[in-house]
Subunit: 391 residues, 2 copies
Amino acid sequence: MFRRILLSVVFLLATVSLFAQTERTQPEPTINQDNTVTFHFAAPTADSVFVDGDFLPDNKRHQKMQRGENGVWVYITEKPLEPEIYTYSYFINGNRVEDPYNIFVWRNCASFYNIFIINGERTRNYVNKDVPHGSVAKVWYPSASFSNSRRMSIYTPPGYNPRGSKKYPVFYLLHGAGQDEDSWLGFGRMAQIMDNLIREGKVKPMIVVMPNGNVSQQSAPLEGSDSYILPTFFPPRTMNGEFEASFNEIISFVESNYRVKKSKDSRAIGGLSMGGFHSIYISANNPKLFGYVGLFSPVLDPSIAQPANKTGFELSEIYINFEQKLKTQFEKAPLYWIGVGDKDPYKPQVDKLRTLLNNNNLQYSYNETSGGHVWTNWRIYLEEFLPLLFQ
Amino acid sequence: MFRRILLSVVFLLATVSLFAQTERTQPEPTINQDNTVTFHFAAPTADSVFVDGDFLPDNKRHQKMQRGENGVWVYITEKPLEPEIYTYSYFINGNRVEDPYNIFVWRNCASFYNIFIINGERTRNYVNKDVPHGSVAKVWYPSASFSNSRRMSIYTPPGYNPRGSKKYPVFYLLHGAGQDEDSWLGFGRMAQIMDNLIREGKVKPMIVVMPNGNVSQQSAPLEGSDSYILPTFFPPRTMNGEFEASFNEIISFVESNYRVKKSKDSRAIGGLSMGGFHSIYISANNPKLFGYVGLFSPVLDPSIAQPANKTGFELSEIYINFEQKLKTQFEKAPLYWIGVGDKDPYKPQVDKLRTLLNNNNLQYSYNETSGGHVWTNWRIYLEEFLPLLFQ
């Protein structure tokens, strides 16, 4: 009876669903023994139901499901899937519907995605294992540049004791356009990768600082006092030099509130896409700060962000004399690591950066993977870059 | 062009939607000047679209929307809505659909809900304001009782410095059945209420500890190594005494890792529903620990959880001799605060507790509100209880 009462209470808030009374002990979709995947969706009165997601080949997106018994529509993948994290959605009469039988939902930018994982070598560090876990905190730092406080995520490794004597190196890890301080913790799997690689002894325990790189916002959507409006994919003032110029505020906050080492050899910076762009210019403008620079599918040219900087585009001094700044930065060369996918639309940007580095005989590591401008690649780059840090 | 490339990249992951190419600067639903609300949903090929949510009166749930131009369905509330946080969903041909134009999504138990807020006196402390913010960390504590590590959320107030000398009181705040260590931070608005009330000087700066009260799980869904399965609403071993018996592990972790005061006058415990139940018995079994006890729609009788304790029900010693324990607890009486809604299905449980307290002349504060077993009430109770603590 207690159970029935409890359920009735939950149902005050809960959805009315065809399956609502049915106990299901496994989440959707069903991952079969051979790693094919079966999707079920109950929609008895729908005219059509499609499933879509990045588990489907590019030329076979939006697969029509077959109507089965009781109005449950079914789709089975043609082939077993490779180990990876995948997203999917259903479309009923053309409208996107999330899966009510999968609680595995992450946000990227302003959209939510149902997720499933095919387990294997590729994904073994993306899941929570029975290993010591670091802590993840959402903290606010004061920004004199923007006259407000701004939110960031900070990972401290297992065993970190704010009152102890041990000091740690710091990795500043930046997000892409439209993303925010939460992004590396969802699709990026930062905490899981760190926990697992630290446990294996492959990565030095370190603090990972994930700030918000959109200076026109305080925080991820809804987390600040300014953000109860629909976020735009590419906010203004994100690639105009302001974030880079204010970055010392972040370092200063971290170095006065955490037990950290304060030398170039103990500071790394890296990021994906726009975060790679930010990492290029923050490190070039502060040549003595970072011993390690990780560029994951980075953009190089600030002028391509011009449409977002609506008040007209005046090139910030952050972006001026870049080649000279780069040469100065490499006088005591950092470990400079670049990763990009062979189908990434920004690959020409990376090629341009490489040409500049090559022409000046500046040493860097170049890592080309298959695929495009996607989290699949950024997780791989993170896993490859982390073991190189602070060794 | 950059914008177009960026968008195409995002669209690799994003949904195909009727509005996908349309810029919208305001989120859905539209809150009109008079606090009526207009809902829009684009579904040109749907036979019917309904809107449902707790903004509708109980006898008028599931309102049919009117098909308008371009297949956009519309519903306008009959009356202005009172200030509150509301949830809503759409139903296309009977299937629940989330609103793709509202990023305001919270999880409760195993379901996600679109949210909107009508601003006003009631909700003024539920939103992020331009005030100093505390930090919220997800940390793991070692549990000898369960031979694993377990996750909890910890709020530290603005200005908390782990290396400083100032010490803080601690409020242990517990969730209800089916919920977890994240729940008070979503629908509960704990961090916003604390930040805002601290700023107004109405609440003492304190640390708020939100553990996971389901000992059969390590953590919220997907956050631990054991939780990649669909969570059940009411896991086993949640009201069998194990959590209460192990609670000292949580206190011990907090008191050795945070700058906290360690006296009865500096410890409070409280919770909603099952968390109220836990608070009753943790405080009664540890009569010297807590100076403040807050019971928000609590359950009293452990036997009503019997169906969930599937291996048969043996009454834990935690629940035995309760009346005597209560009398001992009240020898040095805590501030004992009870809140319940007049339509709460558990009100008979609260009545039973009050009878027991009355029969023994034990002093408590009783606060009856309108409504049922819902977050609307629990947020109110939190706001009312917090200013009483540590004064």
